[in-house]
């Protein structure tokens, strides 16, 4: 069940260029002097978090001209590019389950029942990665209990019953059939076959016989709801289509409707989307585009954008921000939530209010500040309230989300900056360089020397001339050191250990080769202009949107969209739209063998 494919930029860079920078990198890692592995059991790691990455798999190769983009608006499968192998049964994430229950029963809010579900051990990637989501025995019990509770509550709530059971004339069997057809269409996200209706009706009759409710009809409805909510056709986004069109299988309109709604809204389709599927409108690119645009303008798309960036930017780590009370008496625990809100408000503003792209996310010199956070930005708190408000920041100091307080404070220890982890994060999550894991044995750090800056100390331990040179000297440390003009709380600083901070560096980018920079703002601009960052970001969006990891067959499409993102500053909503129009969205590959 493991589809992970190493598509890392690191690999392609070894092939494509910049080899001089990586000279000495051993196959098992960048370290030139450390033993690759210990054969006996004393395998240890003093830098056990250096490979902190939600997804080390990354972006596409430098080649590619866009592949088969099928812009004609038809479903002609001729001369199509190879499609990635994908699951026909992606399980709903717990968030998608909650939202679907809310919408199925027309509730005003989610039930919260999934908070008691057992979690999913994803081991990297996003929380909706279909390759990792299974229905274990424990989760099956969770689903069963939730289905029984919801059914119990539904049949005892006249409001819900009136909303989900069609008001038709006829006997209880006729009413039950109407319910199974109408409610079943929404649960399974497609019309039920006559055979399915008949089989569910048998279950209804069994429920009537079992009884337990004042009204026998309710006993039947109860058991049908229980069945629906435990059915694989509800718990998975099932792709039943199996008819080849050339060398690929087009998904049905109903399947595309579900794929759209779970990608853009994390929930089931609404009635207009069902209607579009029923009318065959999703059989064309234009139809898909029209629905996707409508959905991206809906508030539910904001939840998708928030969830994606929360995971990509590792905002969860902000909840662990803590600072030494002696060194940083200004720190308050309440700042954690404010920093989270700052980042998430900024992301929402860039994507939906500004219609911005990745470049704006990485370089825009503004953020959302309140009176508590204002001093950390060197601003007068008296000019602010408790509410976060859009605020221009000094463009010589701040550029985009990586210079905001949350990222800087979360990637610091309690007492000092952590340029190594800042550099690792940028490599893995922003540039997708695919760093190899650190070696199991790392020499102990040297003791701090009097008057030594943090940069000097880390350079002495991992920089050029040390066994960590290959990764740290050229990839990790230069990016991390660019942020030494901020302190562990994210405040601007100019001095360290009595010396002016040194934020200069050099990094190898595909398009510009070894490129020098001076500070985080210049680095942010370089990153925003780089091929790597745009491919990395589009790749992340694909992984989240398609609920799976990337495969080789995705790379041309990623490269094509990323190039438009880089050159045309494609808005993030447009990137998403392009993904929904891709062959990888509309078709699936037949299973070989």
């Amino acid at each position: 069940m493991d589809h992970m494919v190493d598509l890392s930029w690191g690999s392609s860079r070894h092939v494509l260029g910049g080899l001089a920078l990586l000279a000495g990198a051993a196959l098992s890692g960048c370290y030139s002097g450390a033993p690759a592995r210990e054969s006996e059991g004393d395998a240890a790691s003093a830098t056990d978090s250096a490979s902190d990455s939600a997804s080390a798999s990354a972006s596409a190769s430098a080649s590619g001209t866009g592949g088969d983009t099928d812009t004609a608006g038809d479903t002609d499968g001729g001369a199509a590019a190879a499609l990635p192998d994908t699951s026909r049964f992606p399980r709903l994430s717990h968030r998608q389950w909650e939202n679907s229950i809310r919408d199925l029963f027309l509730l005003g809010q989610v039930t919260g029942k999934s908070d008691l579900f057992i979690g999913d051990p994803i081991s990297g990637g996003y929380d909706n990665n279909s390759e990792k989501l299974v229905v274990s025995a424990t989760l099956w019990t969770d689903y069963q209990r939730a289905a029984e509770e919801i059914a119990e509550q539904a049949v005892n709530d006249p409001g819900i019953m009136a909303a989900i059971v069609p008001a038709i004339d006829g006997d209880s069997t006729a009413k039950a059939s109407a319910f199974i057809e109408s409610f079943g269409r929404r649960v399974y996200r497609r019309p039920l076959t006559p055979e399915e209706v008949t089989r569910h009706l048998e279950v209804f009759q069994a429920g009537v016989g079992i009884g337990g409710d004042d009204d026998p009809f309710n006993s039947g409805i109860r058991i049908v709801i229980q069945t629906f909510l435990q059915s694989p056709h509800f718990l998975y986004r099932v792709e039943l289509s199996d008819q080849l069109d050339g060398e690929r299988i087009p998904l049905s309109g109903w399947e595309l409707a579900s794929k759209l709604s779970y990608m853009l809204w994390d929930t089931m389709p609404d009635e207009p989307l069902f209607a579009a599927a029923e009318a065959g409108e999703l059989d064309t690119l234009a139809g898909i585009e029209a629905e996707a645009k409508r959905m991206l303008a809906d508030p539910r798309a904001r939840e998708m954008i928030a969830s994606f960036h929360y995971q990509t930017l590792h905002v969860e780590h902000y909840t662990k921000i803590n600072k030494d009370a002696v060194k940083f008496p200004e720190f308050q625990e309440s700042m954690r939530d404010m920093m989270i809100a700052e980042t998430m408000t900024f992301v929402e503003d860039v994507v939906f209010e500004s219609g911005g792209g990745l470049t704006e996310l990485l370089t825009a010199p503004y953020s959302f500040v309140n009176k508590t956070l204002a001093p950390l930005y060197g601003l007068d708190p008296a000019a602010f309230t408790d509410e976060l408000e859009a605020t221009e920041l000094d463009p010589s100091q701040r550029a985009g989300v990586l210079t905001h307080l949350g990222f800087l404070a979360a990637n610091s220890s309690n007492i000092e900056n952590d340029p190594i982890h800042r550099g690792v994060y940028l490599n893995l999550q922003i540039l997708c360089t695919g760093l190899p894991p650190p070696p199991d044995v790392v020499p102990p750090p040297p003791p701090p020397m009097e008057g030594e800056t943090l940069r000097e100390r880390i350079d002495r331990h991992t920089g050029k001339g040390t066994c960590g040179e290959a990764c740290h000297g050229t990839l990790i440390n230069p990016l991390g050191f660019a942020f030494e003009s901020f302190d562990p709380l994210g405040r601007w600083q100019t001095m360290d250990a009595g010396k002016p901070v040194d934020v200069t560096g050099e990094f190898y980018f595909n398009l510009t080769g070894a490129t020098k920079f001076d500070g985080a703002v210049q680095l942010a601009d370089l990153i925003a202009e780089s091929e790597e960052a745009h491919r990395c970001y589009v790749g992340h969006l694909l992984e989240y949107g398609f609920a799976r990891t990337q495969q080789l067959a995705d790379r041309d499409m990623i490269a094509e969209i990323a190039e438009r993102s880089r050159l045309d500053d494609l808005p993030i909503t447009e990137i998403i739209l392009e993904l929904t129009k891709s062959d990888a969205f509309r078709f699936r590959a037949p299973v070989e063998g």
Binding site: M4, D48, A154, A163, K320
Partner: protein
């Protein structure tokens, strides 16, 4: 998550569009009823693994010994309360005659870029660490010992081990212990209320209501199985999809485990219910850990499962423990002895001393489990005597993150199989031999009726640790 999500009471209410609120007879169903004793002849054996992270404060490099007893050999209440009172295991003095402490085992394989993940992968599997994924995402390449026990010995109605967790899941390394097979990590349940309600199920409902629920479940399961079989019969199905659907199909059960035991009192239930929104707060670590331990003891007493794991803290446990009123620095940083999760940072004053304090706290929590297992009596002793409870770690020591001398502190003789009241050195053997011994203790054999000798990676030297056996 940043998404605003209004909370409803989860006990069992939905406020629908009609505004009606309906309560289930759910809580009532979870209250205690009668107790039936298990006959001696039917008494099974149990194993539970309680895992602490980040190694222990034992002799390592320049650091002194503060964990193990000062001498190998017999362990007594007197030795632990006098000569060895400064050692972490002294907290277990009340159970001295039931203890079996094993030093001198090591994990055989290197990690893959992350000492914690590699240790967690190997701890209960004795298997290699995956090449891909790597680093903190690495996985074990084999089945875990709890899975082996549960598969072989559990009631057919519940083939899974109980897999529990306490503390935060920060996303870096979460659960690490229980594996169905290579790279097939089992999720751990960290909410005691959810665990309890799942365990009890409909056992305590009035017979008439329970019968109706069971009848409904049978009808539902019949149709769901038909649907699953239809999907699984598709010729156009990848191996991954087939495996995934098979796990789901196998999970569908018509009958629940019949619990023959006394359930907790209303106070304990209310305490668990009050924590149903628990999301890993550091301050609740000891409280939740003890609740999970209560549930493990209950699960054994009810013969709900024969094997359980409890992981305390995430892969590199960063909990800020509050002990005797003092809130300590993050445990992972203490284990590094510096204010950093990496290799650079200011030293934490008396870091090994703080690590020792945390070791003692884990010993106290483990003692709670032993006390709970001892509460359940049999005609020959207590449930602890029929079990082996194991306090383990996925590293040997803190600062070096060594895989050598990984500590195993066992309690309970597992029906007289294990030789307790002693502290032994296994002689730097690979830890598959420890697990072979435990598997043999719970009653498994190697197929020829002899001790289990094949657990873990096939490259490893087979065999048990004879000194552990009575």
């Amino acid at each position: 998550m940043p998404i605003i999500r209004p909370k409803l009471s989860r006990r069992a209410f939905i406020t629908g569009i009609g505004g009606a609120v309906v309560a289930l007879p759910f809580l009532e169903s979870l209250l205690p009823r009668g107790k039936e004793a298990r006959a001696a002849a039917e008494r099974p054996r149990f194993a539970v693994f309680v895992r602490q992270a980040n190694g222990v404060a034992q002799a390592d490099g320049d650091e002194p010994e503060r964990f193990w007893p000062s001498a190998l050999g017999p362990v007594t209440y007197e030795s632990l309360t006098t000569t060895d009172s400064d050692r972490a295991v002294a907290e277990l003095a009340d159970f001295a005659d039931k203890l079996l402490m094993v030093r001198g085992t090591r994990f055989a394989f290197p990690g893959n870029g992350c000492g914690h993940s590699g240790g967690g992968n190997q701890c209960l599997t004795a298997a290699k660490v995956s090449d891909m994924p790597s680093g903190n995402l690495s996985l074990a390449m084999g089945e875990s010992v709890d899975n082996r026990i549960a598969t072989a010995l559990n009631p057919a109605s519940n083939p899974d081990p109980l897999t529990l967790y306490s503390g935060r899941m920060a996303g870096y390394i979460n659960e690490v212990l229980s594996y169905r097979g290579p790279k097939d990590l089992r999720a751990a349940d960290r909410n005691p209320w959810s665990v309890y309600t799942k365990m009890v199920g409909i056992n305590q409902l009035p017979e008439e209501i329970a019968a109706r629920i069971t009848a409904r479940r049978m009808s539902v399961n019949d149709l769901v199985r038909e649907q699953m079989q239809s999907l699984m019969s598709s010729p156009d199905l990848s191996m991954a999809d087939r495996d995934r659907l098979q796990i789901h199909f196998d999970a569908i059960r018509d009958v629940e485990v019949e619990l023959l035991c006394e359930l907790p009192g209303a106070d304990e239930l209310a305490a668990m219910e009050a924590q149903q929104d628990y999301s890993g707060a550091d301050e609740l670590m000891q409280t939740i850990t003890k609740m999970q331990m209560n549930l493990i003891a209950l699960a054994f007493a009810c013969d709900y499962t024969r094997a359980a794991t409890l992981q305390i803290g995430d892969g590199n446990d960063s909990t800020q423990y509050t002990i005797d009123g003092e809130k300590l620095p993050r445990y992972h940083q203490i284990s590094h002895r510096i204010y950093s999760d990496g290799s650079e940072g200011d030293p934490i004053p008396d870091a090994q001393g703080k690590h020792h304090v945390i070791d003692r706290e884990h010993a106290k929590m483990f003692r709670h489990l032993l006390e709970r297992l001892s509460m359940y009596t049999t005609d020959e002793g207590t449930l602890l005597d029929d079990s082996v409870a194991i306090w383990c770690n996925d590293l040997g020591a803190g600062v070096s993150h060594t895989y050598k001398n990984v500590p195993w502190v066992c309690a309970g003789s597992c029906g007289g199989f294990l030789k307790t009241g002693q502290y032994i050195d296994a002689g730097n053997v690979t830890h598959n031999k420890f697990h072979n011994t435990i598997l043999s203790a719970v009653g498994l054999t190697n197929g020829q009726g002899e001790y289990v000798d094949d657990f873990g990676d096939p490259e490893l030297e087979p065999g048990v640790i004879p000194e552990m056996i009575a």
